[in-house]
C-alpha cells in the first residue's frame, strides 16, 4: 500500500492540478451549459441544427484538432486570447487556466446533452401553474425548472468532471505538458511511459486516476438518489 501513497512532489502536483482543472472546468461550464441547453431544448430559431452541430463538435473532432483550434483562438496571438490578456488579464496559453478551458470545451457537449434531456423532460404545465400563482419567468426558472432538472444538472456536471479528468489530446496540444502548471494526470502518465523505468509511477497515477473517477461517479449517484427521493416524482 505504501508504494501507492508515496508520491513524488511532481506526482502530487499532477493529482492536485487534475482535480483543480476538472473542478474549475466543470463549474465554469455550468452557467453556459444551462443557457445553451435551454436554448436547444426550447428555442426556436433559424440555424438551430447547425448550432447544435457546433456545440457537439468537440465530441466528434479529433482532440488534437480541438486543441489546435483553441491555440489559434485563445493563444497569445489568437484574437480571443490577445483580447482577454489585454483587457481582463486572463492568459490561457501554457497556464493551468488553459488546461481548464480545454477540458471544459471537451466536456461541454456531454454536459449540454445531459441538461438538455432533463429540460425536455420538465412538464411545462408546472411552469404555467407557477405563472398563474404570480411568479415571473425568472422566478419560475429558479423555483420550478431548476429544481426539477437538478438530477440532469448533477449528471451533466459529473460527466464534464470525468471527461476533464481524462482529457489529454486537446490539453497537451493547447497548453503543452509543463510539470506543476499544465501537467495533469493523463499527461503525467504519458510522460512516465516515455521514460525508462517509469512503469511504477505510471501505474500509481493510473490507480489514483481510477479511484478519483470512481469516487466522482459514486458521489453523483448518491447525490442524484437523494435529490430523487426528496422529489418523489410520480
Amino acid at each position: 500500500m505504501n508504494w501507492l501513497l508515496d508520491l513524488t512532489p511532481d506526482e502530487w502536483n499532477a493529482v492536485r492540478l487534475s482535480i483543480k482543472v476538472a473542478t474549475v472546468a466543470m463549474i465554469a461550464s455550468l452557467p453556459p451549459g444551462i443557457a445553451i441547453a435551454l436554448l436547444l431544448a426550447r428555442g426556436k430559431f433559424w440555424g438551430k441544427t447547425l448550432f447544435n452541430g457546433l456545440v457537439h463538435l468537440p465530441l466528434i473532432l479529433p482532440p488534437v484538432v480541438t486543441g489546435y483550434l483553441l491555440l489559434l483562438t485563445f493563444g497569445r496571438r489568437g484574437p480571443a486570447g490577445a483580447f482577454l490578456a489585454e483587457h481582463l488579464g486572463i492568459v490561457f496559453s501554457f497556464r493551468w487556466t488553459g488546461a481548464a478551458l480545454a477540458c471544459g470545451v471537451m466536456g461541454f457537449p456531454l454536459m449540454v446533452r445531459a441538461i438538455r434531456l432533463s429540460i425536455e423532460a420538465v412538464d411545462r404545465k408546472m411552469e404555467a401553474a407557477a405563472g398563474t400563482l404570480g411568479a415571473n419567468p425568472v422566478w419560475v426558472f429558479g423555483t420550478i425548472t431548476l429544481p426539477l432538472i437538478l438530477p440532469g444538472l448533477i449528471a451533466g456536471a459529473i460527466l464534464s468532471f470525468a471527461k476533464a479528468m481524462g482529457e489529454f489530446g486537446a490539453t497537451i496540444t493547447f497548453v503543452s505538458n509543463i510539470p506543476g502548471e499544465t501537467q495533469t494526470l493523463p499527461s503525467a502518465i504519458y510522460t512516465f511511459t516515455q521514460v525508462p523505468g517509469g512503469d511504477e509511477g505510471a501505474l500509481r497515477l493510473t490507480l489514483i486516476s481510477i479511484v478519483i473517477s470512481m469516487a466522482a461517479l459514486v458521489a453523483s449517484e448518491v447525490l442524484a438518489r437523494r435529490v430523487g427521493r426528496r422529489m418523489d416524482i410520480e
Binding site: 405563472g131 398563474t132 418523489d232 416524482i233 410520480e234
Partner: protein, 370 residues
C-alpha cells in the same frame, strides 16, 4: 365582480368565436369536450394569447388585441385550479400552499393559511409530498394553493374530471363552501350537468367554439336541446329549495320550493338550509288529473308552457309550477293520448327515489351518506 370575454381565436381547424359576460358567484363554462371551454379559461388565465378580442375582469382590461394590451399571466392575479392539480413535486404540501402567497403584495393578501387549511380540511396533509396524496387530496391542495395567492378571480378547469365518483363527492362540498363562504368569484369549466346544476349560479353554454346560451343556471338548464348528446339524459329542471322538516318515520326530508313541497331521501341538513335540486326530465311523469293508487310522493300542479320535440319518439314538456319550471320528457304517443298542449293544466309527478346524491347537492360527505 364581472367577467367579460369577447374573443375570436383559431387553432388549426378549430375556431372559437365567443362572447359572454357574467357577474355570478360561480359561472360555469359548460359544453362537450372540444367545445373550446378549456381554451377560453386558458385565455382568461393568460396561458393562451387570443388572436383577436378583449378580456376584462371588473373593468380591468387584461387583453385588448386592438390596443395591443396583453397582461402576462403572473401579473393577472387570477388563480387557476387545473384538472391535473399540477402540484410542484419537489415541494411539500405546505410549500406548495405558500408558493403563490409569496408573490402577492402584502397589502393585497386576504387569504390566510389557517382558514384555507380549515376550509379544505387539509391540515393532516401539510407535511406530505404531493406524490403521497390521493387524487382528491391533491385537488384540494391545488385549490388551497390557488386561494392563498389571494386571487381576484378563481378559475377551475374541470377539477373533478379525473376523479372517480367517490372522490368527486368528497370535493364537491368544498367547492360549495368556497362559493358560499369566500368572496372570490369563480369560473368553473365542466361537461357534467350534475356538477353545473349543483354548483353554478350562472351558466355559459358552449358548442363548437360558440356560446349557445348564457344566463342564470335555472334558465339555461331548461334548454335540454342544447345539452351534449351524452349528457341529455341528465338534463332537467334546477330548483332552489329550503329544508322544511325531516320525516323521521320514513327517513325523508321535506323541501319547500315555489312548486310546492318535495319529498327526497333524508338529507342531513338543518331546517332552513338551502338545497339546490335537479329534477331530471326523464324522471318526471305527467298526469292530467290527480292520480290515485300511485306510489310517487311528489305531485306538483302546474300549467304547460312549452312543448318541444326531443330525441326520437320523445317530446319535452315545460310545466310552470307556480313560477318554477319543471321539465318532463314523455313520448309523443302519451302527449297525444293525454291531449297535452300549452296552457293545459297538468300535474308533474316525481318519485322520491329519483333523487340521489348527485342531484340533491347535500352537505359534507361526513354528514350525509345518501
Amino acid at each position: 365582480m364581472s367577467v367579460l370575454v369577447d374573443i375570436s381565436h383559431r387553432l388549426g381547424d378549430f375556431a372559437i368565436d365567443a362572447r359572454f359576460e357574467s357577474a355570478g358567484r360561480l359561472t360555469a363554462l359548460f359544453g362537450p369536450s372540444g367545445s373550446g371551454k378549456t381554451t377560453l379559461i386558458n385565455m382568461i388565465a393568460g396561458l393562451i394569447r387570443p388572436d383577436k378580442g378583449r378580456i376584462e375582469i371588473d373593468g380591468r382590461v387584461l387583453v385588448d388585441t386592438g390596443a395591443g394590451i396583453f397582461v402576462p399571466r403572473h401579473k393577472r392575479r387570477i388563480g387557476m385550479v387545473f384538472q391535473d392539480a399540477r402540484l410542484f413535486p419537489h415541494m411539500s404540501v405546505i410549500s406548495n400552499l405558500r408558493y403563490g402567497r409569496w408573490f402577492t403584495p402584502a397589502a393585497e393578501r386576504y387569504a390566510d393559511m389557517d382558514s384555507v387549511v380549515e376550509l379544505l380540511g387539509i391540515s393532516p396533509l401539510l407535511g406530505r409530498r404531493p406524490a403521497k396524496l390521493s387524487g382528491g387530496e391533491k385537488q384540494r391542495v391545488a385549490i388551497g394553493r390557488a386561494l392563498l395567492a389571494s386571487p381576484k378571480l378563481l378559475l377551475m378547469d374541470e377539477p373533478l374530471a379525473s376523479l372517480d365518483e367517490a372522490r368527486k363527492a368528497e370535493i364537491l362540498p368544498y367547492i360549495e363552501r368556497l362559493r358560499d363562504e369566500t368572496k372570490i368569484p369563480i369560473v368553473y369549466v365542466s361537461h357534467s350537468v350534475a356538477e353545473v346544476a349543483r354548483l353554478a349560479s350562472d351558466v355559459v353554454m358552449l358548442a363548437q367554439g360558440k356560446v349557445t346560451a348564457s344566463g342564470p343556471t335555472e334558465a339555461v338548464m331548461q334548454r335540454l336541446d342544447l345539452l351534449p348528446a351524452e349528457e341529455r339524459g341528465e338534463g332537467g329542471a334546477v330548483l332552489d329549495t329550503k329544508v322544511l322538516r325531516h320525516d323521521e318515520t320514513f327517513g325523508m326530508t321535506v323541501l319547500g320550493s315555489a312548486a310546492g313541497e318535495i319529498r327526497v331521501p333524508r338529507l342531513e341538513m338543518k331546517p332552513g338550509a338551502s338545497v339546490r335540486i335537479r329534477i331530471r326530465a326523464r324522471d318526471v311523469m305527467v298526469a292530467t288529473e290527480k292520480p290515485t293508487g300511485l306510489s310517487a310522493l311528489n305531485i306538483l300542479p302546474g300549467t304547460i308552457v312549452a312543448i318541444s320535440p326531443g330525441e326520437g319518439p320523445t317530446v319535452e314538456v315545460g310545466i310552470d309550477c307556480n313560477g318554477a319550471t319543471v321539465l318532463a320528457r314523455i313520448t309523443e304517443q302519451s302527449r297525444q293520448a293525454l291531449k297535452l298542449r300549452p296552457g293545459g293544466k297538468v300535474l308533474a309527478v316525481v318519485k322520491t327515489v329519483s333523487f340521489d346524491r348527485a342531484n340533491t347537492g347535500a352537505g359534507l360527505p361526513l354528514e350525509a351518506d345518501g
